[in-house]
């Protein structure tokens, strides 16, 4: 996903001289194609995330379209006051790019895990939050971010994510993709959790459970219409995110469902309000903290057992 983003970034830099690429001293070997395509518009500010975001805002006020890149917690949490004031409050046309969604950085530990980046960005008024599910969608999301006028946070995985989405599908900010349309249960996912959600839907299908699979490449603005329609049809929703279950994607879904009157039952799968202190790879941690495909399928089964809201007499 990261390499796919950098391919898109180089193309954007070649096509639009307003596009700049900034980094907080991360991304070894990744910016060279951009530098070649957009000479003079690459800037490494050093290990200084507040300056990364502040300088990006200054460039945006001057009419540039800066992409500010770092590891996800560093660009969203470490520099949050700059993101809040210089970017969101001021409505700056800055594109924040965080690599390493969820527990992608695995063994590097909780400082490098992005379990709160969706929460920190989606709470900000005017912020658009994108979380693509596979490499091709990351490229399309980067293009959409560049075209969109206003603050964007683009959440990337790392590398090695499988291609999971149909190759010909458009990326539209604010639109979820319905990948399966089954009547039994809705699995709604965002970002890199698309992998686990897809695995869960496949497992359920083997048991004769025909699920709806909704993928949200955009967390904000939230595609409430798509979720409410699926919830009304299936009566049960499982959200899946590589993020804390607090204040992220599942919470956004809960807010929408609670006010919708759709009457669906909901289960949120994500990191259960904990840092991932265990040591291990991304896949190990996903399994250890209950976000794996089988765990998502379990959550769906649990809802299926209790979801029929039939009268008892």
């Amino acid at each position: 996903m990261r390499d796919a983003f950098f391919r898109a970034l180089a193309r954007l830099g070649a096509a639009d001289e307003r596009v700049w690429a900034l980094t907080g001293d991360l991304g070894v070997g990744l910016f060279e194609p951009f530098e070649a395509a957009a000479p003079g518009r690459y800037l490494n500010v050093g290990i200084a995330e507040q300056t990364l975001v502040g300088v990006a805002a200054g460039l945006a006020y001057a009419g540039k379209v800066p992409f500010a890149y770092s590891i996800a917690p560093f660009v969203t949490s470490r520099a949050h006051d700059q993101v809040r004031v210089d970017v969101a409050c001021a409505g700056a046309n800055v594109k924040l790019v965080g690599v390493g969604s969820g527990v992608s950085y695995g063994t590097l530990g909780p400082t490098h895990h992005a379990i709160d980046d969706l929460a920190l960005t989606r709470v900000l008024p005017g912020m658009t939050v994108l979380a693509p599910g596979d490499p091709a969608e990351a490229e399309r999301a980067a293009h959409a971010a560049a075209v969109h006028e206003g603050p964007v946070y683009l959440r990337l995985g790392k590398n090695g994510e499988p291609a999971l989405l149909p190759p010909d599908v458009d990326f539209r900010i604010g639109r979820a993709l319905e990948l399966r349309g089954g009547p039994d249960v809705t699995i709604a996912c965002t970002g890199t959790a698309l992998r686990e959600a897809t695995a869960a839907v496949d497992l359920l299908a083997q048991e004769g459970v025909d699920a709806t699979l909704l993928h949200f490449g955009t967390v904000k603005p939230f595609d409430a219409e798509a979720l409410i329609a699926a919830a009304a049809r299936t009566g049960a929703v499982v959200t899946v995110e590589e993020h804390s279950t607090v204040a992220g994607f599942g919470s956004a879904a809960a807010e929408v469902l609670a006010e919708s009157g759709a009457g669906a039952v909901l289960r949120r799968v994500g990191l259960p309000d904990t840092f991932a202190h265990a040591v291990g790879s991304r896949d190990y941690l996903v399994d250890r903290y209950g976000l794996s495909g089988p765990a998502v399928a379990d959550a769906a089964r649990g809802l299926l057992e209790r979801s029929p809201a039939c009268p008892t007499t």
């Binding site: 003079g40 518009r41 800037l43 500010v45 050093g46 200084a48 507040q50 300056t51 975001v53 502040g54 300088v55 990006a56 805002a57 200054g58 460039l59 945006a60 006020y61 001057a62 009419g63 540039k64 800066p66 006051d81 700059q82 809040r84 004031v85 210089d86 409050c89 001021a90 409505g91």
Partner: protein, 266 residues
Amino acid sequence: MSTSAELRLEADAARRIVLEAALASGSCHIGSSLSIVDILTVLYQRTLRAGEGDRFLLSKGHAASALYAVLARAGVLGEGDVIAGYCRDGGTYAGHPERHVPGVELTAGSLGHGVAVALGRALADRADGRDARTFCLVGDGELDEGSVWEAVALAGHLAPPGLRLIVDANGFQGLGRVGEVLSLEPLGEKFRAFGWVVSEVDGHSHAALACALGAPARRPVAIVARTVKGHGVPALEGEFMSHYRSFRPHERAILFAGLDRIEEAA
């Protein structure tokens, strides 16, 4: 009328707007605004070249009323609007400035943000071949923020020619004298060490300010302006509580005593 007399009258007029707005709204931060009125008056009346794209970013946002006042004197805002709309229910001018207000280049209030943003603007100017200057003003207490020094270091390294930083060294911060809370002196030496050109001036001397602010340079310049908090109001000058104190209409004479004194002298 001599140019220095003109500037004196301009600064007094701006001070009067600051005080009228403070009195009308019953708001605080008067001393913080008064310490930069002379700086901003010289900047807006003499230094900024609108045709070249010069701009000013107020990083110590709590001195917003001084910015509104000089913008009003420059004809960007209406004087009556500023006085009536500052820190009032339904007003236009918040106690900390926002970019959607005409003439305001930085949304400020959370300290330590301005230098990085000003650096971004100065880098854009250099990249686009514009001969514009970006002035940013920080308070000396604001220099406690680590983000200031991140940006100061990077600015010294990248050295965009149009960047100008003004330090309003009024010697006070939230809970006391800067020298007692967290002394960062010698300030000039610190900026020099980061590769900046430095000048130190009396922040109430219009002639000294005009010279320092307008001095040509091909790299970032830090102008350390030694100022008096509450300048122009005898009851507030050099007073720690001038940051917090607000005034009611019956105290009008206290606020304006200094201006009357100046007018009599002129």
